[in-house]
Structure formats: C-alpha cells, structure tokens
C-alpha cells in the first residue's frame, strides 16, 4: 500500500476519546435496550447506560480487541448490578432460580402438562405487546439470557462471558427461561379463551 498503516501505539493520546466514541456509540441502542429490559423503566435505564459508558471509557485501555459489543454489554450488566445494589437494596430483583425448575425432577416434567388446545402452544399468533408483557413477568435472570441470546444473538460462550456464569449454566438457564415463558404464554392463552367464551 502506498499509504502505510499506523500502529495503534502511534495514535496520539487525544484520539482516545474519538476512538472510544467511534467504537461505543454504534452500540448505544443495544446497550440501552438491555438496560431498559433489566431496569424496567427509561429513567433508570438511562442512568445505567450512562454509568456503563463512563466505566467503559475509563477501562477502554483494558479492551483487548475481540467483540466490542460483548465487552460493552458486560459492562452494562455490571453497571446494572451495581445500580441495583445502590438503589434497590432490600428489593429482590434477581431471583436465583424459579421453583418451576427446582420442583421438576426430570426434563420431561419441567415441560409441564400439555394444554387442552394444542394450537394454543404455538407462539406464532402472539402480539408484540403481549409478548413484551410476558417477558417483563419473567425472573430477570431468565429475561437476561433470552435477551442476550435472541435479541443480541450472542453465543453461549459470549453469554457466559457477559453474565459471568459457566456455559453449562447458560445452557440450562436458557432452557428453563423458555419453559417459563411458555408457561406464562399458556396461562395467558387459557385466560383469553375463558374470556372469549
């Protein structure tokens, strides 16, 4: 190439901020969406994201390359956890695991019984508003893995990195999360049916 590349080291110090903005701002929507789903409202979500971005900037030099979005989402999640400790102490936000999973002796049993109307099972017909409401009802660690998996499209390994949990736990938690959402959906569908009659 006629024009040589410059190494990272050669970038002037005042480029640090610009580099950070170039890298971090495109992920603002992803960061905010995660924070919004975790915190449950816009004001708190904004605080969490702002805090996360300041932290990310401060620790920017520690970013070793790799997937910046995963790195940033990890920080958003940590910022949220800190925020929970500081603002919602005494209020249980993260439920470690639901009785649904613990009471089930087998994987089969975890699925629960089949509903009377098999058509009710398929979520094809769910509308956006209902789905979002059901998601809000989920324990937040379930909601979190579902978001990271389905919305952010992260791999199990990446989810394990973001949440600081082993891969095996990510796998079983996702499985439980889906069953929990399915259960909520079935309950909702049966209520709707009862109302309709």
């Amino acid at each position: 190439m006629g024009r040589g590349y410059r190494s990272e080291d050669a970038l002037p110090q005042d480029d640090r901020r610009r580099r950070f903005e170039l890298l971090a701002l495109p992920h603002l929507d992803a960061a905010y969406n995660l924070a919004r789903w975790l915190a449950g409202n816009t004001t708190d979500a904004e605080d969490v994201v702002q805090d996360a971005y300041l932290r990310a900037y401060r620790y920017f030099d520690a970013f070793q390359g790799g997937n910046f979005r995963v790195w940033l989402l990890t920080i958003v999640r940590n910022a949220f956890m800190t925020w929970v400790k500081e603002n919602r102490s005494g209020r249980m936000v993260f439920v470690p695991d639901t009785p649904l999973a613990e009471s089930a002796d087998t994987e089969e049993a975890a699925w629960g019984s089949k509903p009377r109307d098999p058509e009710a099972l398929l979520m094809d017909s769910i509308d956006s508003q209902t789905l979002s409401r059901l998601m809000e009802k989920l324990p937040s660690d379930y909601r979190e893995v579902l978001l990271l998996r389905e919305v952010e499209d992260l791999s199990y390994k990446e989810i394990a990195d973001v949440t600081g949990t082993p891969m095996g736990t990510v796998m079983s938690r996702l499985s439980r999360a889906r069953l929990a959402l399915r259960k909520l959906w079935l309950e909702h569908a049966e209520l709707e049916n009862a109302d309709g009659m």
Binding site: L11, Y32, Y59, E107, L121
Partner: protein, 252 residues
Amino acid sequence: MECDRAAGMLSPLVDSALGPFTRWRVRRHVAGCTDCADKLEELRAMQSAIRTKLTFHRAPPGLAARIGAALPREAAPAPSRPWFRMPAFSFGSTGLAGALAGVVLTLLVVGGQPQSDLLQDVIGSHIRSLQADHLTDVLTSDQHTVKPWLSARLDVSPAVKELKDQGFPLVGGREDYVDGHPAAVVVYRHDKHVINLFAWASPGRPEEAFRDESRQGFNIVTWRRGGITYYAVSDVEADQLADFAKLVAEGT
C-alpha cells in the same frame, strides 16, 4: 436417546449449540418421536416470536449527547481502583449543545487532516453507515441491479456477487467517499453483522494479495486486483472476513 434426555437438549438444538454427535442423536430421536417434535416446533416458534416481535427499546434522543458531555475531556488516567468500587458518578446537564457538537463532530471529522489515514477513513465510513440509516442507496439483493448502479455513478466496476448460499447475503450498494475520493461500497450481511466492501479504481497499481488488519475492534481485509483496490470492513470474526474476501475475489 430417551425423551427425558432429549427434552433437555431441544433448547440448545434450537440455538445450534450442540456438538455434531449430540445434535445427530437428538435429531434422530425427534424424527421418531411426535412428542419431542412438537416441543421442538414450539421452541422454534417461540424463538422466532421473540426475535421478530419483542419490543426493542432504542436509546432516547439526547442520550448520546449526555454521555458525550459526561465523558472526561482529557485522556483519562489509568484507574487506580477497580471500577466496581468506583463512587457513583454525577451527571450534570451542562453544555448540552456543546456536547452534541462534540459528539457529532468527532464522528464526522474522521479522516480530517492531519490524523487521517486510509484505514481510519474506511472505518469511519463503516461506522457512519451503521448509524445514520445510510447503509445503502440501492437496496436490493440482486447483483445485476447493484453492479450497473455502481458503475453508472463511479469510474469503477467492482465485483458484486450473490454469496447468500455461502452465508453472506448481498444487501445493496452505496456511493461513499474515502480519502477524498468517491468509492463504491457493496454491502453484505453475515448473520446480524454488516460487511462494507469498499472499492475504488487504482489504475496502473500492482496487484496485491490479501492483507488482514484489525483496528478499533473492526477487522479489515484489503487487496487489489484488476486495477481496483478493495477494503472489506466488519466486526465479524477475522477468519470469516478472510473467507468472505476470498469468495469475492474468486474469479475476478
């Protein structure tokens, strides 16, 4: 494999997270078990419902500016304490307009003198294309539309290929500027990632083999062939971008 074991494997199957052998065993079980086949179908329907219907909360306008205002002006010193024990930050609402200008300007000034270089330019353009709803001027997955569209506007006729079967569907094309000159950009996707393929005419310059570079979290592969310089930029993994570059260059 029994139902009980298979039932716990359906979720990772949906996520393509099983090894080949387990995947094969679960699939074989599902093929012969209506009960598990129903469950699998349910999980797939749920996955697609979440992916397509769940509310996505976009960052409110002004949040970027507020963050910009809160970022320290000077280069931050190395932290002396772990961040998780940092005291709470306070955010003032001062200098909102200035902050806005700061954020926007720093984004747009990429490539400005004297700190610019080609790579910086290409990355800046890549990022802007992701931000500003300006990914494509011509939005089509038809290579026979994209190529003439680009050729008609620019003095370059870059390779445009449909690579959907190889996992890189064509999204469209765009006219952009790199290093002060117009460049054709062919846009592809890989999963949810965008790949911008920049191309401009370099008549008389020697051919160049593939070259990888990584900067600011983006991977770049460059090469020159047939008097055209190519820069592929994306946040996909370096290996995948290298595969992509080979596919594009093949036969050109």
